[in-house]
């Protein structure tokens, strides 16, 4: 036990102040390191949140010495004239009498020994990963020591909403892949156990880093994405038809066939349509359907195509025709029977009916111009795709289902497509669950975990705004659905949502508003702010039920863990195969 300092001040509000022993080098004390404060009765685990010193040598003396002599005298000046002070946040207490670890409710006495934390002591507080129920999340910063991995308790993690925050490139995607992989292993390893949780992930994968490859900050692939490793545990959908062919993913265009206006609102709202247009949308739906029902054309008389009627205009007719011609985009069920003439007739008929009210026609035409952008999106009026969303929801809820990834492919930067698909799936899931609840379901048979990148786009606090994910975050947790916001702007999230995030993984953030939001829920958040500002890429402050006590971790290297995932998954598949062969043999006997 190496004593490195002594406690000089302590309070719950301001934390602990200790003075380092003479000869200690402040460069050995990175912010966020764990240290132990030892007393006769307890030992306290603490996170270092400030290192400072006071120099007592008169600067005029020092500055009067020619520079060539200064380096030589500095070791002595540091020893003789400088007091190194460290500030620490007490995060846990180990009672030597009771042999238990708990949240600290006392402070160490004056002069208590500050000692270097070694892995075996830290393990008393956090436990050790067993690769069954707990998995290595990262290495804590220790003073001059590494080599211990803090485990994440998967059951505790998925029991409540959790969030991942950090600037771009700070490591959010790495940790998310890591946690998804652990969740999958947990499900595979613990199936049939008493407290087993059947975890399903719904991942909105903006940059294909779950479905294909995880990239480093220079966009170079470093490892397979988690769904690409546990391939049989996932169903991957994509709105990118090229990727769907190239990587054998399921094609998922925005399914516009027979979409009710309520759903369509969620898709077109980000396109900048007016409120009047949105307010009238249900009326437009009714009127367009009426017109179509009277149409003689076999296809266009199907009211399921009403949205086609909404976007058709003199300006868009060529583009609609060309979409029908282009085989790479699946558009409508039987485009050969739709002619330019029949489309012109339809436009005229719709405008006549809506034009019965002059103001409504004005709003309709203005909104229709905005909807031109829909034609740039991967949309489809084919009936089969309107069932895809239900299929996804079924995968998630059904005990025999799988996890789902929505891989955005070439639409990775098209926020409107991402929002449209996420909102559609979210809303459908919400409705399905509510139907099940109405039928008497207490809890979803599977634990559905929704990873939502750019979460503030769905969960921002905006009066009157509706997001299915907001409802899910607030109301569905007890029914077995949790939301995982992955965001670089947690300050923009609805505080009602962030207050329900239990385990938080906070990577580097710079905006004080974001830092403050990300630290909602930790004791004495102010004390952690300096730590969050100082985090390097790959480092995060983790707090909440998934880790026993708050900790600053250098998150496990995903590329290394991904190889472990592959190895373990291969072993699992091998065992499963031999088990089923054995069972086959038995049944034959």
């Amino acid at each position: 036990m190496k004593v490195i300092g002594s406690v000089l001040e302590a309070s719950f509000e301001k934390g602990i102040v200790a003075c380092l022993m003479r000869g200690e080098d402040p460069e050995d004390y990175p912010i966020g390191s764990l240290a132990i404060i030892d007393t006769d009765r307890n030992s306290y685990l603490a996170i270092l949140n400030e290192v400072q010193y006071t120099g007592e040598l008169n600067p005029s003396i020092l500055m009067n010495i020619p520079s060539r002599f200064r380096d030589g005298i500095m070791p002595h000046v540091r020893k003789r004239y400088v007091n190194y002070i460290v500030k620490l946040i007490p995060i846990a207490k180990y009672s030597k009498e009771k042999n238990i670890t708990e949240k600290p409710d006392t402070i160490p006495p004056y002069g208590a020994r500050l000692i270097k934390a070694v892995p075996s002591e830290i393990a008393i507080y956090y436990g050790e990963p067993d690769w069954q129920k707990t998995y290595p999340l990262g290495r804590p910063k220790l003073i001059g020591e590494v080599g211990y991995e803090v485990p994440v308790d998967i059951k505790n993690l998925v029991n409540l909403n959790f969030g991942i925050y950090g600037k771009s490139g700070s490591g959010k995607t790495f940790i998310a892949n890591l946690l998804v992989g652990y969740g999958i292993l947990y499900t595979l390893y613990n199936r049939g156990e008493e407290d087993y949780i059947d975890i399903r992930f719904l991942i909105f994968d903006m940059h294909d880093e779950y479905s294909l490859e995880v990239l480093d900050n220079s966009r170079r692939p470093i490892a397979k994405g988690v769904a690409n490793i546990f391939r049989k545990e996932f169903v991957i959908y994509t709105p990118d038809i090229e990727n769907s062919n190239k990587f054998r993913m399921n094609y998922l265009p925005i399914p516009l066939y027979d979409m009710p206006s309520g759903y369509l609102k969620m898709i077109i709202e980000p396109l900048g349509v007016t409120q009047a247009f949105l307010d009238n949308l249900a009326t437009f739906e009714k009127k367009i359907k009426r017109v179509m029902e009277k149409s003689g054309n076999t296809i266009l008389s199907d009211p399921g195509y009403w949205i086609l009627g909404l976007i058709l205009s003199q300006e868009t007719i060529d583009r609609v025709m060309s979409l029908m011609d282009r085989r790479e985009t699946e558009f409508i069920e039987s485009d050969r029977s739709v002619t330019r003439r029949s489309l012109y007739d339809l436009i005229e008929a719709i405008e006549n009916v809506i034009g019965e009210e002059r103001e409504a026609l004005k709003s309709f035409k203005a909104g229709r111009r905005r909807l031109i952008r829909l034609l740039n999106m991967p949309i489809s009026f084919k009936k089969k795709y309107s069932r895809t969303i239900d299929e996804i929801v079924k995968y998630l809820i059904n005990p025999k289902g799988k996890s789902v990834v929505i891989s955005m492919g070439r639409y990775e930067k098209t926020m409107s497509v991402y929002l449209a698909l996420a909102n559609l799936i979210g809303e459908r899931l919400r409705i399905k669950l509510q139907e099940k609840i109405a039928e008497g379901m207490e809890e979803s048979p599977t634990k559905i975990i929704i990873l939502l990148e750019e979460a503030h786009k769905f969960l921002e606090k905006k009066p009157g705004a509706y997001s299915p994910f907001g409802v899910i975050a607030r109301e569905m947790r007890k029914r077995g659905v949790i939301i995982v916001p992955i965001d670089q702007k947690p300050g923009d999230l609805d505080p009602d949502v962030t207050s329900m995030i239990w385990t938080n993984m906070v990577f580097a953030l710079t905006d004080p508003k974001d830092v403050s939001a990300a630290l909602t829920g930790i004791d004495n958040p102010k004390l952690y702010e300096s730590i969050v500002y100082s985090l390097k890429p790959g480092e995060a402050v983790i707090y909440g039920p998934a880790v026993k006590f708050p900790v600053v971790l250098s998150i496990e290297d995903y590329s290394k863990v991904s190889r472990e995932f592959e190895k373990r998954y291969k072993e699992y598949i091998g065992k499963k195969r031999s088990k089923s062969l054995y069972e086959d043999d038995l049944s034959r006997d």
């Binding site: 040598l57 008169n58 005029s60 003396i61 009067n64 010495i65 020619p66 060539r68 002599f69 380096d71 030589g72 005298i73 002595h76 000046v77 003789r80 004239y81």
Partner: protein, 214 residues
Amino acid sequence: MRKIRVSRYSGSETAVGEVASINGSKYIIYLYPERYPEISIGDILLIDSGIYHPIIVVDENIHRARREQGFTPLHTGHDELKEIYPDADRLYIYAISGVNVAYADEKGSVKTGFGPSPRLHDFAYDMEEEDKERLFLDEGDTPNFTILRYLLHGARDPILLREFIARNRDVITKLGDEREVFSAFFNAITEMNLGDAFLKTAIDDFLSIMGWRE
């Protein structure tokens, strides 16, 4: 570790005076009148006290009439007085006081610190340049100015320090690389609570006397 040659400091021939009194770390040495002009403030003397050889740094000169009243022939001048009274020096006291800073043992090993006290009338000698060097080196022969702590403990006087540096400049120059020497000096004087003004003056004086200011 180099040693000093204690054998060269014996007998009355080369002695500059004798121990007259001791008060803690302060010694009074009565100088032989003819040697009196040779000894200045800041000089280092070694006392032959048998086994041990205390080493002192001169911090004061004392020259006065042996009696309080009586022989005070003013308006004559020293040379004229010597012509009239050839043994006039016997009527005066030529003395210095010195601060004990170190001692050498019988084998010539030097230790910084207060050694055993000398006896009255032990001979005192002006230390040779090559032996003085030993006082500024530690056992590993690297520069060390710990004797300043003892000197300034006995007489906290910036002028004395200045004189001491000046009188021993050549010895200090030979100790080694200037950076190493300065660091040793700095380390020693900052170990005492001298106060900012004293410290600043001491560093300034040291750098100026050594010619290391620029």
